[in-house]
Every structure is written in structure tokens, then in C-alpha cells.
Symmetry: C2
């Protein structure tokens, strides 16, 4: 890699090559995983390039293609699996400056990939009382492009399913990694080529997302004597077709008591909880339903003064992967898993898995729509001991019918479906024929012979030593 | 009944006693049912009273209570089961003039019970891009109060379930039928007392309904070679969590060809169809999904000029009970049933029932959310021969696991759950102790000993002769 020559070609662009800063901007929240922490701790790019617009992206890609320099795109680095970490070094392409919200209309927003999700909502709310359908718990820091390229769903998935479902991304403008980069507008089925592909087969330069009506969501926490009480309540609440919620999150004791520092005073010892975001116009009916189901409302922002709410994070910052973050801040030995409890047996599976690892695994569910049904993902907290034990827990989940989306893997395939996404692979052949985009993340590209059933972790070149 | 004395007491109110007009305003669309047509054809009130506001409602009810005159409330008379027909004569209380939209805010509209549903939407769209969650196919003529008191769901139920689900009605203001009528504001669980109670236990004088984001819905008709193709497609479309639709209606050939006069030219012979209302921002993804599922788009208002669309009714006026209406206009011997195909066996049940009555019953489904799952109601068209045969068809549906909500009955219980609604009954005891509101519609009140398993139709006094 002739980085010096590349730099000359990029003259006039915003470039950062201070080693400390480059290393810092080559990271994400991979350290939630002790496995990834060990594997990826020394990963760093050679320089950060921050284009201001699509023309500059084209220029960077053409130059990097010419010099054979890898390019790893990055939003704000809030991923958890090293999605934006440059395993082969080279250029980290920060899209954070491409953050303009360019157009808002009924049901639609167009913006740059670097726009912070909360900033988009701020603009669409002020414009016409609209907001994005889905967001991660890193709402206030994550970029929309990073969410699309590296995420899968989150807050709002109880209404709209996941990011890869038809209709949850409307259009993506993508630049290819070729001698003369092409600019493509992808819609409909073509979107599957690049959503959740970690930027391995194109650089997103513009996104068009669907909007839904925005509300001043009310945060409510409902307490239960048992975790299964909270889980059954969450499931029943998700099945209430007329109650508009945005988050339904059962969490087992003692997680709330031990790790939700600023909310601790609201929980009785031993109380499991269900976090809920509910629309103000659904609140009356929601409270009636909750009474009927025997839930105890222990926290309700609609009934609190500004003074009482001061300093308390929003409910979604206790949910999804913020649950893990809050636990990690108190107990660094905590890590987590990601599981699916398939419909229609979700409650039986939850009960079974919840009972299997007392004192070691703590249940945390996120109810979602999934293929038209209400079911739940799990993001259980795990008291980490060894990688072998972590693997064993994963195997036990899977053996019991709960697929694991492994957050301790940096490749697309091992984290997700354990198989090649042929659509993504075919598009990479077309859009990145030299394999320069985010190397090492798509096994199907790096090693087509790799056997997913081997049980062995895929190790990208250069990372074998830490394998 | 001393109607003359009552009239004197109502001096100054808007009263109509022209016999022809009173008879006309004592009717609804009961004649969709040959059974109800025979039973109810001679039903008429004695006078129509049209209060302008709640104070006048209170005055009417107090006077009628004093004189022992029955009161049957009426919106615009678009019901199908004689909901608003005064079986014991007396006053027909037309609430049509209480039609003001008084307040609109995010997620909420407050209005009079007589407001026409389309007019409410017109106001809420202009105000803030919002619309009602649910409406019947009689959108342009039905009143909101009549929909709440006599309906159960409709267009939009694919997203929000039914009217009696928690959260689909926010508040009802109700006047009781007592010497000194009380005015009550009902919310939460209390709403179940009066929703779908046909006005038997209180007069609705104000409603507060939830709103959702409004869109310029696109009407699409998708063609299939077989009815089951259309049914499977409708089910799969309903399960697409990211595609925003408002109507998913599979209809078997030759119903579209024979009865949808103005759309006939779009259908090939033998083609079954699925009517869809889809949000504009979901259209691209919807069309991609439809291609993948092998559906043929035969009609798409987004691809038509105003000239091409001229004279064509909206898709929802081909759906729900407008399907029946269009068939009846061509063939007066057509009637219909209302069934549920319970989740998760809906498609197998649909296939079984669709095959059972060739040339006699024509399948028509409406996909909905029901307790958190996607399933379908049926409004099959029936080529009517005898009441005995109609009963037999009903029995065959029920014997095969498809509950029938019998549209050939004028009582609450026989049309719906075949059991006493204890909440409605208890509230009637409280709010209408003399049983003067809409007599004859609540069996539990009229004849507590009635045996629903007898198989015999309940006949209210005075109607026995036509039984």
C-alpha cells in the first residue's frame, strides 16, 4: 500500500493521519464482546478520509482503487461487531460529514448517510410531525447509514419488523469500488444487496427512509414478581393491536436493580420489569390493560414532573444493547448474546432458557413483529468466564431451538445466518471486483470453501495470530 | 305511548312526523339479508327527533322516560342488521346534526357522534396530516357514532384490529335513560360497556377517536389464476411488517367480473383478485414483493391519469360489505355471511370452505390483525335459495371451525358471540333501568332465560308473527 501516493491523490480532501486519532476512529463498541476485544484490539486503519459529498466519495474510491488500498466505511462507530473496523488497514472512510437532511415529505425522508438518527427525527418532527420507523438504542449517536449497513432493527421493530423487511428502507444511493466508480440508486428487492452488508459491496452516499407519525412517547416501567410474569405481559401487550407502543422490553431481576443506576429507586428487590414506550393517546387504554394483566406501574413519565424526570435516560437507553452497556459499566465481566425465540413457542422457549443458567445468564427480551407475528429476540446478559463456556451456552440455546445471532463474530455470515448471502456476494463481484471494501467481513468472498458447519471461527488473514 | 303529549314536551326541538319520512328514517340496510327483510320490513318509529347538542339529548331522554316512550338512536342508517331500527316504535333519535369536529391534536380527534367519517378525515388531514385508524366501506356516508355503536372494524383493521380492541376508541360521552339523565365520560375498560351495543344502554353524544398518519392511499388490484393464489398472497402481504397497507381483500372469480361493473374491463375471465390499499411510500417495495409472489398487477391508481380513474369508485368501495352491495345491485338473490377463519389455520380453512359450495357460495376475505396475528374474516356471497339452506351453510361453516357472525339476526347476541355480554347488560341495568333504549336488541335484557343453544331464532315481541 503506497499510502503516501494515495494521500497526494487525495489532496484537498479532509484527511486525518494522527496515529492516535486514526486508531480511535478505527474502532467501534466491539469490546462488548471479550472475544472480539481479544481479536480486534490492535486493528487500525492508516488514515481517516472524510468526504463532504458524493463527488468526493467517488474521488476517494477511484484513488484507492488505483492504489489498491482497502476502504472501510464508517458512520459514527456505534456498531458492536467491528462492522466498521478496517481489518486490513487502509482508509477508514468517515461519512459523518455527509449528514444533511435534504428532503422531507409524507412518509419519506432523504438524507446523507452520516446524519445522526436523532437529528433526522428532530428535522422530520419539526417539519411535519413525522419520525423514523426504527432506531437503535444508540439513537442519539448512531448514523442512519451505519444503522442500515450494520444494524438490523431495534426500537420500533414491535410495529415494523426489521430493517431488511420490504419497505423499511426506500432507496439507497451507492457508489461502487471500481476504476471509474458508478453511482447506483437501489430500490425494491435490490436494497437487499447492501442492507446489513457492512459496506462490503458499495458505499452508501444517500438514503431514503420511510417515516411514520411521531409522538411524545411516554416511558412506562411495569413491575412483576417473576420474570415470566413480565415476559407473558410483554407478549400479551405486543398482541394488543389497538395499543400503539414502540418498545416492549422484559428484563429479569436483578438486572434493573444492579445495573440501571439512575432508575434503581423505582424497583423493589427481586422485581422483574417490562420497559414500554407507549403513545400518549394509547396511555389510558394501556394502563387499563396493564391493570387487567396484574402489572404494577412503577414508573410513568406522563405522571412525573420535569424535576422528577431530571437526569433519567429515556427508556430506550435501558433497552436493546444499552441494557448490556449499563451492565458492563457496573460489571466489566458481563457480556451478552443475541437469540431469537421463534413464534409460536416463544414463551415456552423463554421459560426454558431462563431457567437453564441460574446466576450466569440473565434474561432480557425485546418483543418485535417478525413475519407478521409477535415474538421476541433475546439479548441475555452473560456473566463471562471462558470462551469455551460462552460457546457451550450458545450451543445450548441453539440445541433448544433458539437461533443465536452471534455478537462475538466480526463476519457477516457467522454473526447472522451462517450461510452465504448470494445476493450480497453477487453484488460484491459487480461493485467491488478487487475486494477492497471492508476486507475480511464477508467469508463467502474471502474463502468460498469455508465450511460453516466446522464449528471453527473464521479468522481473516492477519487475525489468525489472535484466533 | 302518548306521542302527542311527548311532542308537546319536545316543543322547540327538530321533529319529523311525516309517516313516509319517519318510515324511511327508521330503516337501514337490513335488506341485504332476506331474513331481516322479511322480519323487519314493517318496522317504523313514530317520530324522528334530531337534537342539535347534548342538552337537547338530555331533554329528549328525560321526556321519553317520563312518557315511557322507547328511543332508538340512529346515525346515518348505514347498518346492516337493523341496529337502528325501532322495533317497538317510539322515537328515532337522529344524531346526524351533532356532527361537529371540535378538536384535533396529535393522535386524537374529538367530534359529535353524527359526524360523517369521511368528513372527520377531511378535517384531520387538513389540520395535521392525520386520519382515523378504521372505517367501514360506507366511509362517505356512515357516522362515527353509528360505526362505534353498530360496527366492529373494517378498512384499517389490517393494522389496528377491531373497534373493541383497547385503544381504538379513546373516550365516549354517554347520556343515560333516566328521569334525570346523567352524562358520563367513559375511557379505558369502561368503553366496552357501550361499543357495539347498538345504543341499548346509553346515547353517545361525543366521541374521541385515535388518529394515525394519513396518506394518499394507492389502490392496486392484483390478479391470480386461482382464488387460493389470491388468498395466499393476501396472507403473505399481511405478514410483511414493513409494507404499509390499509386493505387486503381477496375475492374469488367470477365476483369481480360479474359485479364490479366499472372495473370489469381490468379483469381477465376466471381471474380471482386481491384488492389492496397501499401507502405511496410503500409502493415500490409492494410491487417488488408482488412480483416475487407471482401476482399480476391489473390495476394501479398510481400509474393512471385522472381521466383513466374517472368514475371508478375507490378500492374500499369494492370491499367489506360493499362487495355484497355491488353483487346485490346486479343479482337481487345474492346475500352473504360473515365468518372468521381462526389463526393459524386460516388458509387451510379458507381452502376447505371455498371448495364446499360451488356455484352457491363465493369467497371474499378481509385480512386483519386479530389478537396480534394476521388472519382473515370472510364475507362470502351466498346465492340465496331458502332460509333453511342458509342455516345449513352457517352450520357447515361452524362445524368446520369457522365461527359465523350471523348478519341475518337483529340481536346483539345472535349476530355476535352467542352469549350475554355481562358488561353491557350490567350497564343497561344502570343506564336504562326501564329498558327504553333500542328495545328488542339485547336478548339478555328481554329474556334472561333464552337458550342460545336452542337453535331457534330469538323473536322480539311484535315480530313473532313474521318469525
Amino acid at each position: 500500500m503506497d499510502i503516501a501516493a494515495l494521500k497526494r491523490d487525495l489532496d484537498g480532501l479532509k484527511i486525518e493521519d494522527n496515529e492516535k486519532i486514526v486508531q480511535q476512529k478505527s474502532r467501534d463498541f466491539y469490546w462488548y464482546s471479550p472475544v472480539l476485544k481479544r481479536q480486534l484490539d490492535t486493528v487500525s486503519g492508516d488514515l481517516i478520509v472524510s468526504p463532504k459529498n458524493e463527488a468526493e466519495v467517488v474521488r476517494v474510491l477511484a484513488a484507492c482503487h488505483r492504489h489498491g488500498v482497502p476502504v472501510t466505511p464508517r458512520g459514527t462507530g456505534t456498531g458492536n461487531y467491528g462492522q466498521a473496523m478496517p481489518l486490513s488497514g487502509g482508509v477508514v472512510l468517515s461519512l459523518a460529514d455527509m449528514n444533511e437532511v435534504t428532503s422531507i415529505s409524507p412518509g419519506r425522508v432523504v438524507c446523507g448517510p452520516g446524519a445522526i438518527i436523532a437529528d433526522i427525527d428532530k428535522a422530520t418532527r419539526a417539519h411535519s410531525g413525522q419520525e423514523l420507523r426504527l432506531h437503535p438504542s444508540t439513537y442519539n449517536t448512531a448514523s442512519i447509514g451505519g444503522f442500515i449497513a450494520g444494524g438490523s432493527g431495534g426500537v420500533g421493530s414491535i410495529n415494523f419488523g426489521g430493517l431488511r423487511d420490504f419497505g423499511n428502507v426506500l432507496r439507497l444511493r451507492v457508489v461502487t469500488m471500481e476504476a471509474e466508480p458508478r453511482v447506483l440508486d437501489l430500490t425494491g428487492e435490490d436494497l437487499h444487496k447492501v442492507t446489513h452488508a457492512y459496506g462490503t459491496n458499495g458505499i452508501i452516499t444517500e438514503v431514503e427512509m420511510p417515516l411514520t407519525a411521531s409522538y411524545d412517547w411516554v416511558d412506562v416501567i411495569v413491575g412483576f414478581d417473576s420474570f415470566m410474569g413480565a415476559a407473558r405481559y410483554g407478549n400479551a401487550l405486543g398482541c394488543q393491536d389497538g395499543l400503539l407502543t414502540k418498545l416492549i422490553t422484559p428484563i429479569a431481576a436483578p438486572v434493573p436493580q444492579n445495573y440501571f443506576k439512575r432508575h434503581q429507586r423505582f424497583f423493589r428487590p427481586g422485581q422483574s420489569i417490562c420497559l414500554v414506550m407507549v403513545a400518549p393517546h394509547s396511555l389510558d387504554a394501556f394502563l387499563a390493560f396493564t391493570r387487567r394483566e396484574g402489572g404494577e406501574v412503577v414508573f410513568n413519565t406522563a405522571a412525573m414532573t420535569d424535576e422528577e424526570k431530571k437526569g433519567l435516560p429515556p427508556a430506550f437507553e435501558l433497552a436493546w444493547n444499552h441494557t448490556t452497556l449499563r451492565a458492563l459499566r457496573v460489571d466489566p465481566s458481563i457480556t451478552y448474546l443475541q437469540s431469537l425465540y421463534p413464534f409460536p413457542n416463544q414463551l415456552a422457549l423463554v421459560e426454558e432458557m431462563d431457567a437453564m443458567f441460574p446466576g450466569e445468564v440473565f434474561s432480557h427480551l425485546e418483543f418485535v413483529r417478525f413475519d407478521g407475528n409477535i415474538t421476541c429476540f433475546g439479548l441475555p446478559l452473560v456473566k463471562f468466564t471462558t470462551e469455551e463456556r460462552l460457546e457451550e451456552i450458545i450451543r445450548l440455546f441453539q440445541d433448544n431451538g433458539c437461533p443465536i445471532f452471534n455478537p462475538h463474530r466480526y463476519t457477516l455470515e457467522e454473526g447472522g445466518m451462517k450461510q452465504t448471502d448470494q445476493v450480497q456476494l453477487a453484488f460484491k463481484r459487480e461493485a467491488d471486483p478487487h475486494g477492497l471494501l471492508n476486507p475480511g467481513k464477508m467469508i463467502a468472498w474471502e474463502n468460498p470453501e469455508y465450511d460453516y458447519r466446522s464449528g471453527r471461527t473464521y479468522l481473516f488473514k492477519g487475525l489468525e495470530k489472535v484466533g
